[in-house]
Symmetry: C2
Subunit: 199 residues, 2 copies
DNA sequence: CTCCTATGTGAATTATAATTCACAATATAA
DNA sequence: TTATATTGTGAATTATAATTCACATAGGAG
């Protein structure tokens, strides 16, 4: 069997994807260079041809995740225009994304990702901030168009929106997938929407 | 200086407390037997006189946390009786507890605590479940007394209640304490309460 | 007071993983 | 076709922390 030599761009993607999959199944704790390498089909030391360190590999995983999250938001905003439709669709898509990738909320919100790494923490903060701003904008738009009450703070709502998804994802994971995220999201959404609607 | 020899009960508490404080400042990643020992004023190997392993030490920290959380809930239920007053007070107390102990949400909800430890994961699941049930009960009582709408599912609400606290705590931490948790809780609470109140 | 047990000490020992390095094989540009 | 840079390999090397162990000492039971 001949040794495959692939472009570093390709490998970087393969590695980031493999790392994410590994985190999905074994968690951050189970993430080792050796296992990632095995999944990609190369030898551990070869990882270092494509990433300077394990840390930079993790950065790549974070980028992967945020790209998808933002993609969900942007695509949704292309597809629908009513603010409630948008939020609902984002919610649904996020749930699906998370069900396929257990790890996402745990990676993003788990301190092991950034503890002792000021730079990454700041980066993560910026990315989450950007995400929340997007959600806020949708809400502001809704207020502008008189679909959403004007006496609520868009930023607060955007964090509460996160509060529909994240705790549910955590419970789902910790309960060994017994907690029904989709059903919860459905019920919570109803209440959430109603509480924002203009009388 | 003479060597202090303390009862293992006392040491276990000291160690659990020291571990928790350490996690507050340096995160799970920074939690080492050596550092804990130093804080307690003993030598690393001495830890093993009081805990079989690092894992069991972490278990003790978890117990510490849940004891306090439950304590908040129970004390609140002793002090107030109106369901909204109860929830509001629990919210306030949790926020205060979390501000004093950054680590709490990150410990409870961080996979590093339970990944690869089925037993602890199950235990954590039970404890969180018990907590949510308590919150649910308060809501059911409110429904019974006609303060809270009856067309909402108490379990859903209890998870949404978590959704007020947890994302805020995470944002506070990741933003290097720039995010104003207390203010968010205040605003979110207003919306939350209103959405549950009987018309 | 004296023994005995519980606790503490410091120096190994282990375990796990990241990282480095010298060497090999492949692709590609000329 | 053939240099040359890039990518891959496998065997060290390092780093970090948990854990063990033989020995020391305080403090209560008798």
């Amino acid at each position: 069997m001949s040794i495959d030599k692939l472009d570093t761009r390709v490998r970087q993607e393969q590695i980031a994807q493999a790392a994410m999959n590994l985190i999905n199944t074994t968690g951050m704790k189970g993430l080792s260079i050796a296992k990632v390498a095995k999944r990609v089909g190369i030898v551990p030391s070869a990882i270092y041809r494509h990433f300077e360190s394990k840390d930079q590999m993790i950065d790549a995983v974070l980028n992967l995740i945020f790209d998808r999250l933002m993609d969900n938001v942007l695509k949704t905003c292309m597809a629908t225009f009513d603010p409630f439709d948008r939020l609902k669709l984002i919610l649904t898509r996020h749930i699906r994304l998370i069900l396929d990738n257990h790890a996402i909320p745990r990676i993003i919100f788990s301190e092991e990702v950034y503890s002792g790494n000021t730079h990454r923490k700041a980066k993560l903060n910026r990315k989450i901030g950007r995400y929340l701003i997007k959600i806020s904008e949708i809400i502001q738009q809704g207020q502008h168009e008189n679909h959403i009450r004007k006496d609520v703070d868009p930023e607060t709502i955007s964090v509460m929106f996160l509060g529909i998804i994240h705790p549910a994802a955590i419970l789902w994971h910790i309960s060994d997938e017994a907690f029904d995220v989709a059903k919860h999201a459905e019920k919570a959404w109803r209440i959430f929407k109603e509480s924002l609607s203009t009388a």
